[in-house]
């Protein structure tokens, strides 16, 4: 059983799992800021994406030809590519934030961080490759 009273805390140098996962870069602020920037971008991009696919073509099947037709306009290419990149960052950074609030050891957190980076990079490459079919 754990001892009720612990040894005196090391006040000077607190270990911090919220702090630099990539030393010496402080990730807390950057992640916070980018999470909010991508959130705003996603509200705009996803608003256009869902409106175009859900409200302006009510009652129609989405087919390959229709998507190719939509991608004739560079505007939609920018929007969909934008969603792919911002959503990948926002989602995976969100998962990282969820993991940081769980009682998980810093070593596992660090491993999970790099796993998320790999998932993000591979996912975005795979997604761009997929979108190429319509161009």
């Amino acid at each position: 059983m754990a001892q009720a009273t612990k040894t005196a805390p090391n006040v000077g140098a607190p270990r911090s799992i919220g702090a630099p996962l990539i030393p010496p870069y402080p990730l807390g602020f950057t992640a916070w800021l980018l999470q909010r920037v991508t959130a705003l971008l996603l509200v705009v991009f996803l608003g256009i994406h869902i409106a175009a696919l859900h409200y302006f073509i009510i009652g129609q099947h989405i087919t390959f030809d229709r998507v190719v037709e939509r991608f004739q306009s560079p505007f939609f290419i920018v929007v969909d590519m934008g969603i792919l990149i911002t959503a990948a960052f926002h989602g995976l950074n969100g998962v990282r934030a969820v993991l940081l609030d769980l009682p998980i050891s810093p070593g596992v957190q660090k491993a999970a961080f790099w796993l998320l980076v790999v998932i993000g990079v591979v996912g975005v490459a795979y997604g761009i490759n997929g979108l190429m079919a319509f161009l």
Binding site: L46, I62, G127
Partner: protein, 132 residues
Amino acid sequence: MRTARYADRWPGNYRAGMWMWLLHRISGVVLVLYGITHVIVISSARTWGPGTFDRVLERLGSPLFLALDVLLVWAVLFHAFNGIRCLLLDLGIGVRRHHKPLFWAMMAIAVALLVVNVVVWAPYILGKPLAE
């Protein structure tokens, strides 16, 4: 004095902010899983060719998947408008006094948009076939 115990690890009686935080994370994880699925489905045009893409999308246009789409739309709307609420709080809007009206306003907009979506798609969810 030998051991220490925790009396109550999970106190009940949470206020709205706590539920919003939990639901924001749950909807976020759901959306990440959906996003991965979505990329795989859309990439089927590249991976297996346009024919497969059309067949998959036709299957996804069935009433069952259109009904599941309502859940997805709710996850998106909830996550988006709760996220906007958090953004406004971070900008210092409503954080001092009006965080409760702000919460109700955001949830009202989200529910209104969900109702619009359900009303528009209701005939197809109930079995009306989609146009080719």
